[in-house]
């Protein structure tokens, strides 16, 4: 920029900045009210934020208790940790002589499937006739136990296969 232009710019700037219309008082007042409203909202948020934090902690505690409750539930039925069991070796293994009681609580099998046992008890005598639904069979060799969780649509197939295998 030329030196002459710089001088001219300064002259224009001085002239233009020498006067400016003022913000009307009515507009200024409205802006002030809006600012005050904004501050009030912020203050309210701070107060409710403190309250909200405690509410969130309480809600988390309650939720935690609800979620952990099944673990501490006293039940005559022993909980069986299926993850510890070996995978199904032979789904058509002959029913053992020992009758067992399956857990009443819904369980999650190793495949991630969540099952609710429908047959409360299992014994060789009723293993074929009473289970109405078959889903999975697990063998517990050290206890010589077979646990059956069932799904209705598979039961007929299992029965046919058992007959075919001579079981």
């Amino acid at each position: 920029m030329k030196e002459q232009d710089k001088w001219l710019d300064e002259r224009i700037r001085r002239g233009i900045q020498a006067w400016s219309p003022e913000l009307p008082k009515s507009l200024d007042q409205e802006l002030n009210q809006r600012m005050a409203a904004g501050k009030q909202l912020k203050d309210n948020k701070t107060k409710s934020g403190v309250l909200g934090k405690w509410a969130a902690i309480a809600a988390a505690l309650i939720l935690g208790v609800i979620l952990l409750m099944p673990l501490f539930r006293t039940d005559s039925t022993e909980m069986i940790n299926l993850a510890k069991f070996p995978k199904v070796q032979n789904p058509f293994i002959a029913p053992p002589a020992l009758a067992i009681t399956v857990p009443k609580m819904p369980i999650t099998v190793p495949s991630g499937k969540r099952l609710a046992p429908i047959v409360p008890s299992y014994s060789p005598e009723n293993s074929v006739s009473k289970p109405r639904q078959l889903d999975i069979i697990m063998n517990i060799p050290d206890k010589n136990i077979t646990i059956v969780w069932t799904q209705l649509e598979d039961f007929d197939l299992l029965s046919r296969k058992r007959k075919g295998n001579g079981l």
């Binding site: 232009d5 001219l8 710019d9 002259r11 224009i12 700037r13 001085r14 002239g15 233009i16 900045q17 020498a18 006067w19 400016s20 219309p21 003022e22 913000l23 009307p24 507009l27 200024d28 409205e30 802006l31 809006r34 600012m35 409203a37 904004g38 501050k39 009030q40 909202l41 912020k42 203050d43 309210n44 948020k45 409710s48």
Partner: protein
Amino acid sequence: MGMQMPDETTDQRQGEVSQSFWDLFVPHRQSLYAFIKKSLNYSEDADDIFQESVIRALRYFSGYHADHPFRSWLYSIAHNELKKQYKSLSSMSMALPEDICLKDVVNETDPLLIEEVRRLHELAMELKNAWREVFFLYYQDGFNVEEIAMMTNRSGGHVKFILNRIRKAVKVRLGEKP
């Protein structure tokens, strides 16, 4: 006319955002109003445009990034509102307010300065809308060429061209050799 701001009571978070906005906005409210008023040739619609700019800035403040100057961002919004107004405005006032040069002038006792202030503002009123904006952004609000180019979606070269043309016009108006 009352300012129709967004319903802030429905969102607590907006209270904090709103407060941050006002903290940044307050120092610029007078200069922003003057810019809009002058860019619209002292039209009474300037008050509405000012309000609309503030509302829009508040509404979109959550999208503002602090790594950019707040003032440039605010003036960009005002520029967009002015552009809309230029399209809808059939005619703008072509008379300077009566109070110009009679009060608030730096040196009221200097008649030469008072006369020059009047001439410069009259010249600005005769400029095209877009040019007048550039004129005030540069000389009144002190933005540089790059900032003005970004705010008004022009190239830096175009802004320089406008300013050069304005300088020539000013020289003529003030009796200098162009």
